[in-house]
Symmetry: C2
Subunit: 378 residues, 2 copies
């Protein structure tokens, strides 16, 4: 149940028109404290891309969070929220050299790389900065597994970091990402073993690495139960001890979905319930929000959000759930139909839970003339 009393009160009192996301800051504060309590020795870099709302960044800056950013635009948002540049990581491994220069000028001194080419850009545009090299991790077990887009083979990380050192950068550490919404607790073990091997290889070349960036992947609860933050922390701690013994490095994590996912609820409305044929048993339920209005993560039905209606005590039956645009790809759940009340009808409200992450900014500018998803942070 992610619709908190504060969110429900807000919706009842304000009656906002059109689809909107409501985020409860109290839940985010609670999540932040759960991370710090579970991993007291680990610095938290909130993945700004999950939800860059100024109120969220201000809260996390006040609570002492650091920030993982993907662009100069995000760096500027974080600075505007009151964080100092030493709390910012430029975590995108694909950066224009002029954007690296801009970040450097703003005081950012920690950069992700996964190739010699990118390392050379950082050396030119942000001389002396700290760099960490992202390695390819096995995303098995993740609901939104990562492609091979980011990271390099562990065997190449050594070259990348040696090149960084030779160019006067501070070869600082290793990062990996086990895949978003990762529910296999053992996923970090393999990557930490690979990280230790790179630490050793660099040490034998006279370069001492200091940091392991454990990435994100901490899940939000959608329909299926997920392990708690404490269980993740224990699994990671055990893997660190196993591989690094009593020389455990500095660690950072980059939760995004795990920090804000369960803090938000989208209020939507049923626009149409219809069938395609008089003798058809297949209902189509069309909502006023779809793939292009903020629910892009339903792509290939990857993430199955909980849908809550006021009629959930009535008998339910399967239906196809689709969005409001004229794009035929704007269908949310069809391969695995969704069970919704048979009494559901035009105008009914539908709450889409656990939608605090990766919704507002994924929303299109104006596809089909629909405005972007409204957001209220309370």
């Amino acid at each position: 149940m992610t619709a908190t009393a504060r969110i429900l009160d807000f919706l009842r009192d304000r009656q906002p028109q059109g689809p909107c996301l409501v985020v409860d800051l109290d839940v985010i504060a609670k999540n932040f404290r759960a991370f710090t309590r579970a991993m007291p020795a680990t610095r938290i870099f909130y993945a700004v891309k999950a939800n860059p709302a100024p109120e969220i960044l201000q809260l996390l800056a006040k609570l002492g969070s650091c920030f993982d950013t993907a662009s100069v635009g995000e760096i500027e948002l974080v600075l505007a929220a009151g964080a100092t540049p030493d709390r910012i990581s430029y975590g995108n491994t694909i950066k224009k050299e002029r954007d690296i220069s801009s970040a450097h000028a703003l005081g950012v001194a920690l950069f992700a790389v996964d190739s010699v080419e990118e390392t050379e850009k950082v050396a030119r545009a942000a001389p002396g900065a700290k760099v960490f090299c992202r390695i390819l991790a096995d995303g098995a077990g993740a609901e939104w597994p990562l492609s091979r887009k980011f990271g390099c083979d562990p065997s190449m990380a050594e070259d990348v970091l040696l090149r960084a050192h030779a160019l006067g950068l501070h070869a600082y550490g290793i990062s990996f990402h086990v895949g978003s919404q990762q529910t296999k607790l053992g996923a970090w073990d393999l990557a930490l073993g690979q990280s230790k091997a790179i630490f050793d290889a660099l040490q034998s070349r006279g370069v001492t690495l200091s940091m392991v960036n454990l990435g994100g992947g901490f899940p939000a609860k959608y329909l299926k139960p997920v392990p708690g933050t404490g269980q993740y922390a224990n699994a990671i701690q055990a893997a660190l001890a196993k591989h690094f013994g009593n020389a455990i490095p500095e660690t950072i994590i980059e939760p995004g979905r795990g920090m804000v996912g369960n803090a938000g609820v989208i209020k939507a409305e049923v626009v149409l319930v219809s069938k395609k044929h008089a003798n058809d048993n297949q209902r189509w339920v069309y909502l006023d929000i779809g793939k292009f209005g903020g629910l892009a993560e339903t792509m290939e039905e990857a993430i199955r959000y909980p849908l809550v209606t006021t009629k959930d005590k009535d008998a339910k039956g399967p239906c196809i759930v689709a969005g409001p645009t004229c794009d035929s790809a704007d269908v949310l759940y069809e391969k695995t139909p969704y069970n919704l009340p048979l009494t559901l009808t035009v105008g009914d409200e539908v709450l889409i839970e656990s939608t605090g992450a990766y919704t507002t900014t994924y929303s299109t500018v104006a596809f089909n003339g629909f405005p972007p998803l409204q957001s209220y942070v309370i």
Copy 2:
């Protein structure tokens, strides 16, 4: 070759920063005239969702086009561009009743439906309006085939239109959509046969239909050659004559991609060229635009845009093409790698051709902190 001299001159003279779309209005005017010449008896309803830039709407309004709209937002854009409401169709079959009311208040009197439920909304909110019923068409042969999201079984269209008539609406006609980027010229034949059967069934119940909306589906040229507008017109004319004999109804078409697709070119930049492993032969080429910056139609590698570089005379080799965001789904071409010059390097300009349709408005608000796609209409 869709980069016209005007577009190339603009890019050379203005040197716009960051990824941008440049649209040549002369090409759109030429496309409009080709449609009117090929189908002189057919009214053209431009599918505004393809590209709602004010300059494009103003040009088409001046040329005498009508407009197919998906939302009240698009209706307002069309009215602002100088078209009168009698030239507007509200073509989305999924509409909130209050949006139908707003459209009715703005003077719009032509609505699409595909269910009894939607027809009842139109009868309440836009009494006396003309409605046409969309039927499900077989999308085989389309590069971006439509799901079953829109349209009802032809057998149900009769009920829908009889209900419209009973509710005091003007049961006006039938519409269908053969699928976007449709290259099978025979695709219209089946749907026109079904339309005629519905005309006859309604006539036997005392209701005379007047119009067939032939929808869109007219292709833009990407990498593969496509039939010309004249060939489409001939195929449609033959199918109309075959099924309707000498009682050919009023017809309308809704070109979107076919009107503006080849009028636009996106200028992008190579951000990084790298490999994942020292002995890897697989290049990754990262551009400053991807799935979330306007190229959503590369989803499942559906549309393969022509990529043009200044090094196209050099030897080429396969590479994976990806976008600049931290989302691992932001990969454009991987299953079928793209052949690009082996000399391609960071900072090189890449022109992405035939991108006038379904790019600007598909762009996300601010995913990863990147601004939406810039657009220049010249």
